[in-house]
């Protein structure tokens, strides 16, 4: 009897037929002209063919609404199937909207049990998310795949943190921790998208400051994050800008520690221990005694200087990416209660210390 009841009841309540669903794989949010938000989504449609993959069409739709959820409902009315964002891979924000704050926009994503919190987030530098979402890059069919793949490689080559929406949420809400989000840029000439650095956030808004793509690897190392590969190219000697004055090293092993001292003000010492492998050093002669030592010293010097620049940028942007504030709160709660952290942070001293060891230099001396 129960069985017959179940048969009669199949598909009564929660069934969402996969075939009746329009998968939204990437979403873009901008500030709207009349209403608060302009949402752009790209929906791929595939037609079946009995052999091999079918043809793929991409439908890009934009709409303006007061909230993302309203926009979603509006878009739903424009398409034949059901709008479903549960497989979103990339969420892109326009620069302007990011400066206004991203949390209100993401609230819907965080609240929906079916949403994909494993999605990446990116901010468009000098442009709108709509342009990016509408881009038809050559060779890449879907913008979600293009962007997602790009951000993934950026994470594995230690350019971005590779944080998804879920991990960002913790830093978004928590006082005393800020975060940075990959910046992308439309390259109109090539019809491509560029990774242009890490955009710094203060609390819930984009500050407009960034760490450029070249420096972002060092920036990641300072954060204590290392992807599969971390490669750094630095100018180590000579005034004239020759190819021989550069060295490229790969990080084999990394250890990073942060020490806080709180008396009158806060001092944060960041110790980074690096074991490096030289992959490119055109001036050669590494076999000469003391040459490696020299290179180590030069690198330490360069890294420290570069890091200081990065840290200054961070403090100017008032973006506490290292979570120094949260540590102060955790270990020195009295001090935390005394000060207003966002005013305190730009004033504190953050000192980078590098300890560098070259352990390998390829198959050639």
């Amino acid at each position: 009897m129960i069985l017959t009841a179940l048969i009669l009841l199949t598909g009564c309540w929660d069934e969402r037929q996969f075939k009746n669903i329009s998968l939204v794989l990437s979403m873009g949010f901008d500030t709207g002209e009349e209403q608060a938000i302009r949402q752009t989504v790209s929906i791929p449609t595939v037609t079946r063919s009995s052999e091999g993959p079918g043809q793929e069409f991409i439908n890009v739709l934009s709409t303006e609404a007061h909230t993302p959820r309203e926009a979603r409902d509006k878009i739903d009315m424009m398409i034949s199937d059901n709008f479903d964002p549960s497989k979103v891979r990339v969420v892109v924000f326009g620069e302007e909207l990011a400066k206004e704050g991203i949390f209100p926009v993401l609230d819907d994503m965080y609240r929906d049990p079916k949403s994909n919190l494993n999605a990446y987030m990116a901010v468009v530098e000098k442009g709108t998310a709509e342009e990016i979402t509408r881009l038809r890059a050559t060779g890449e069919t879907r913008i979600s795949e293009y962007l997602g793949g790009m951000l993934e490689t950026a994470a594995s080559s230690t350019h971005t943190t590779g944080e998804n929406l879920q991990l960002l949420c913790a830093e978004l809400i928590e006082p005393g921790i800020d975060f940075s989000v990959p910046l992308i840029e439309l390259d109109k000439q090539n019809g491509a998208i560029n990774f242009s650095g890490m955009g710094l956030f203060h609390e819930k808004t984009y500050t407009g400051e960034k760490i450029s793509a070249e420096k972002s690897t060092l920036y990641m190392l300072l954060q204590g994050k290392k992807g599969k590969i971390a490669r750094l190219t630095e100018k180590v000697s000579g005034e004239n800008d020759e190819i021989t004055s550069y060295a490229t090293v790969e990080v084999n092993k990394m250890k990073r520690k942060m020490k806080l001292t709180v008396d009158d003000g806060v001092t944060a010492d960041i110790h980074v221990n690096l074991e490096l492998k030289v992959v490119e050093y055109p001036s050669d002669h590494l076999y000469v005694k003391g040459k490696i030592k020299m290179l180590e010293e030069q690198l330490t010097d360069v890294f420290t200087k570069e890091s200081e620049k990065i840290l200054t940028t961070l403090q100017e942007a008032n973006s506490d990416v290292f979570g120094i504030g949260r540590r102060v709160k955790a270990y020195h709660p009295d001090y935390w209660n005394e000060v207003e952290w966002s005013e305190e942070y730009p004033e504190i001293a953050i000192v980078p210390h590098f300890d560098i060891k070259i352990i390998e230099h390829g198959i050639m001396n």
Binding site: T10, F18, T45, T47, R142
Partner: protein
């Protein structure tokens, strides 16, 4: 019985030994004494056989004697050889003096024996009936059973003759403790049923229980082991078989040595084994002929096939109908492409495809081999391909259903394989109603059901529920034989040890000049360590 013999010997209890014959046991005192008149005797027999035409009566000695036999049951050659040849050769004067004859005065007994293929010689003026064994047998050779083939190992199988079957077992266990008990079943068919067990290993209460259940069967006929199984199994309202069916002597022997009981019936090669557990259906003789690594691997594959066979279509339906979020990013577009333009909801697709597979299978089974193959090709390839091209069923669904069918055929036991395919349906429906939650409830019900089942007082899911770590050695894995020191607990064997250290040679190799000085127990443990 042996005791009885000595008793008779020593204490002079000189009651005469009787031939042990099933006919005696069975006639239950029904007796019709023969008369001295030949015609009366013959008339009685003839009327009892309703003047059946194949009862041959040869009148001898100018009408003073008669030889009766069923020509359909007796071998003409044997009749000549056993009865006429000695007389003709002059070894003996009369047929009645042949020593090979069994003599009786009970006509009812004569009837049973005639039905058993014997010939009866009756003389006028004597109430003695001489019975000669002239039974003819038409047996096929004990070939390997088609449904339980192995790659390595014994290639013989049971046939339809119970005597030859028991012979196959006795040849493998030359031991006095192998005990066979006959019970005649079926008031009309008089089918010979044998209960076989190892005395001293099998639990006597289990043997008694099997005997009690078998002998309590009162029916007109017993023509297949399926009937006996249904008469004596614990729980009939279940898709799961509670007795193992096998046609392989080596499998029966293995189970007998574990302390189980085998039930055989005349006229069928299938042997029932009780008690059986769920995991026994996943063991095959092959496992024990392979290296233990491969054996374990194959067995794990087989057990995994259980999950696939029961759950894969349901899982697929739950995914495409409810939780497509679980499809990883790379796969989502291909999956979507393949099901995008299918007209029917996936649950209908699945049900249709599963039914089609059953149709193909059923059509193939009954047909002769060459046509069966054609059906397989037409059904599998042509229909499968056409159905996908026509857009009725997605190619993913075809993959899923085909995988399920293959997985269900992996089970070495045919009964269980059918049960598994049957269980797919309710799970599909549950998955179509409530997605993953429905599947979980369905699986839970199946597991509860399995836990509740018992086979002759043994929990069906032993040794997993109740959990017995020691017996897992031959359940999910097949550990090397030297580690299988004890018999599984679920057979309730009264002699738990199965083997003494079998790799003793290794120990003496290592000790060199010091041959076995250790007591047995210590030896076993040290051997275990050295083997690790």
């Amino acid at each position: 019985m042996l005791m009885g013999f000595f008793k008779r010997l020593f204490f002079g209890d000189h009651t005469r030994l009787q031939d042990r014959d099933l006919a005696h046991d069975h006639n239950h005192g029904r007796k019709q004494l023969s008369s001295k008149k030949l015609s009366e005797n013959v008339d009685y027999l003839l009327s009892n056989f309703h003047k059946s035409n194949d009862l041959k009566i040869r009148v001898l000695n100018e009408g003073n004697a008669a030889l009766l036999y069923f020509e359909s049951l007796s071998d003409q050659e044997k009749v000549f050889e056993k009865i006429f040849a000695p007389v003709e050769n002059g070894q003996i004067d009369e047929i009645s003096k042949l020593r090979s004859a069994r003599i009786t005065q009970n006509l009812e007994e004569v009837i049973t024996n005639l039905l058993g293929g014997q010939a009866a010689y009756i003389e006028d003026g004597s109430n003695k009936v001489h019975l000669f064994d002239v039974t003819s047998c038409y047996n096929r050779t004990p070939e390997e059973p088609q449904n339980e083939r192995v790659i390595r190992g014994a290639h013989d199988g049971f046939i339809e003759n119970i005597m030859i079957n028991i012979n196959l077992i006795r040849k493998r266990i030359e031991n006095r403790n192998l005990t066979v008990k006959y019970i005649k079943l079926g008031t009309y068919t008089n089918t010979n049923v044998a209960i076989i067990y190892m005395d001293g290993i099998a639990d006597p209460s289990l043997v008694q229980e099997v005997e009690r259940r078998v002998s309590s069967i009162e029916t007109d006929m017993v023509h297949s082991p399926g009937l006996i199984e249904e008469y004596i199994e614990d729980q009939t309202n279940t898709p799961f078989p509670q007795m193992l069916h096998t046609e392989r002597p080596d499998r029966v022997v293995g189970n007998l040595m574990e302390g189980r009981v085998a039930i055989m019936a005349e006229g069928t090669p299938t042997t029932l084994i009780a008690p059986s557990t769920f995991f026994m259906f996943y063991q095959a003789s092959d496992d024990y002929n392979m290296r233990w690594f491969t054996g374990t691997f194959i067995r794990l594959v087989r057990l995994f096939s259980f999950v696939i066979a029961v759950g894969l279509p349901a899982f697929y339906i739950a995914i495409v109908g409810f939780h497509f979020e679980v499809i990883p990013d790379e796969l989502i577009i291909p999956v979507k492409a393949s099901i995008n333009e299918i007209a029917y909801p996936p649950i209908i697709e699945a049900l249709v495809m599963v039914v089609i597979i059953e149709l193909i299978r059923e059509a193939g089974v009954r047909l002769p081999a060459p046509i069966g193959q054609t059906i397989g090709i037409v059904g599998g390839l042509v229909i499968g391909d056409a159905v996908v091209r026509a857009g009725l069923v997605s190619n993913l669904m075809v993959i899923v259903v085909a995988l399920t069918a293959i997985a269900s055929f992996v089970v070495p036991s045919n009964e269980l394989s059918t049960a598994l395919r049957l269980l797919t349906f309710p799970l599909i429906v549950l998955a179509g109603t409530m997605g993953f939650v429905g599947i979980v409830f369905g699986m839970l019900i199946i597991i509860i059901h399995l836990t509740k089942l018992q086979s002759f007082g043994v929990p069906y899911l032993a040794p997993v529920a109740p959990l017995n770590f020691g017996d897992l050695k031959d359940t999910f894995v097949r550990l090397p034989m030297f580690m299988m020191k004890t018999r599984p607990k679920d057979s309730h064997a009264i002699k738990p040890d199965a083997l003494n250290p079998v790799r003793k040679w290794k120990l003496s190799d290592q000790q060199g000049s010091k041959p076995n000085q250790q007591p047995d127990g210590a030896e076993a443990s040290s051997k275990k360590q050295s083997d690790r």
